[in-house]
């Protein structure tokens, strides 16, 4: 039996893989999407919207959400972030925009690779078996969602609780109201990683109400 390759999550985007390599280089501990925070519930109390920050840096007690989409497409992510901060004021999260990532690449002299790591072209990179081992993910904080697991030598990422449309497809980025953008960016990204939907979420009718902030209760 050959030696097992180091565990490395399947990053949804090349920019995430690059950030992971940068953090490794500077010996900053990180975990990839270890926690999912519910941020929207229907009137029955079912979670219909959630947010899974890309990285958690345990030494800093900081989440990092990386988005390299164009700024005008980041509005919904900003809204989710505001809601997350309203519901969970104790967590610290930093949103890394496309501009931030661009500056990071500029700083490290990696501008030539930028086009391959941002926006739609950076989606769904293949695993990099030569990368160093990833930090072991911690248990989810609030929902039994994506802990990196290894079964019979295969690395899998369990699916988080997400919303779904009437056809049972996962909502884009977990948002019932998220429109399908012309490039299908979010649908493709989340669809790849979060194919399975919980029975409750899949059964939700289209246009499910999301509880207002004051009524919202974390599960």
């Amino acid at each position: 039996m050959s030696a097992a390759a180091p565990l490395r999550p399947s990053f949804a985007h090349a920019s995430e893989a690059e950030l992971a390599r940068i953090l490794d280089f500077y010996e900053v501990q990180w975990r990839y999407e270890p926690d999912t925070y519910p941020i929207g519930w229907n009137l029955d109390g079912d979670v219909v919207e959630s947010f899974s920050p890309d990285f958690y840096l345990p030494d800093m007690e900081l989440y990092v959400e990386l988005t390299t989409l164009k700024q005008k497409l980041v509005r919904k992510k900003n809204r989710k972030l505001r809601r997350l901060r309203q519901l969970y004021p104790d967590i610290r999260i930093k949103l890394f925009y496309a501009r931030d990532f661009r500056m990071l690449m500029l700083k490290f002299g990696r501008m030539a690779l930028l086009d391959d790591m941002t926006g739609t072209t950076g989606q769904s990179t293949p695993p990099r078996p030569h990368d160093p081992a990833v930090s072991a993910p911690k248990a989810p904080v609030l929902t039994p969602t994506p802990a990196l697991t290894t079964v019979a030598g295969e690395t899998t990422v369990p699916d988080p609780v997400v919303g779904a449309d009437a056809a049972g497809r996962p909502a884009a980025d977990g948002e019932p109201d998220a429109p399908r953008d012309p490039m299908g960016v979010r649908r493709r990204r989340r669809g790849r990683r979060r194919r399975r939907v919980t029975a409750d979420a899949a059964a939700l009718p289209a246009g499910t109400l999301v509880a207002p902030v004051n009524d919202a209760r974390p599960a």
């Binding site: 900081l62 500029l106 030539a112 030569h130 990368d131």
Partner: protein
């Protein structure tokens, strides 16, 4: 890289003039001199960007201080570097045990390098370890580190000069300027 032959032609805006920098360095020097009076101060500078700042700052501190230099490799995305093998390219030349160490930086943005250095230097058991930076770009901070002496907080722009480079150039500018985006947007 598409820099022009004229050093100044690639600069879109002078952010900090030579005079403004000199005044701030003098002010920092006075503060540090007062704070460290009667103590064994060692200034540790990180090559190469901090070189002009270090050279000016140490001459503004009226104490019998020591200096030392380090060089740390930057992330470049290669597999060698990702393996964590390349780090300290030049280590301290003398022990800093029981010394009051002030790490002198040119700029702090993400804080990644500084975070690494602070952990490394703490392992050498200095009596104290603080940070002095000429420029601080807090908008881009990823790793929060308390900075004791800050010259200027600057906006989130790519700056060069007074030690700061782009592709190893522009360090010799006497001011801090904003590099014209077309210089790096068409690079490589």
């Amino acid at each position: 890289m598409t820099h022009t032959a004229d050093l100044h032609a690639d600069i879109g805006e002078v952010l900090l003039s030579e005079e403004v920098i000199a005044a701030k360095v003098a002010e920092l020097g006075r503060r540090i001199g007062a704070d460290y009076a009667g103590r064994n101060l060692t200034l540790v500078s990180v090559l190469k960007g901090s070189l002009p700042f270090m050279a000016d700052l140490m001459r503004q501190i009226a104490l019998p201080l020591r200096i030392d230099l380090m060089e740390v490799s930057s992330y470049g995305g290669t597999s060698t570097e990702s393996s964590g093998l390349v780090r300290i390219m030049k280590d301290l030349s003398a022990s800093i045990a029981d010394e009051d160490v002030l790490l002198v930086e040119d700029i702090i943005d993400t804080g990644l390098t500084l975070n690494y250095l602070m952990r490394y230097l703490r392992g050498k058991n200095p009596a104290s370890l603080k940070i002095c930076t000429l420029l601080d770009k807090p908008a881009r901070r990823l790793v929060e580190i308390p900075v004791d002496y800050v010259g200027f907080e600057i906006p989130d722009q790519f700056v060069v000069g007074y030690g700061l480079d782009y592709g190893e150039r522009y360090r010799n500018l006497r001011f801090v300027g904003v590099l014209r985006p077309e210089v790096y947007s068409t690079a490589d």
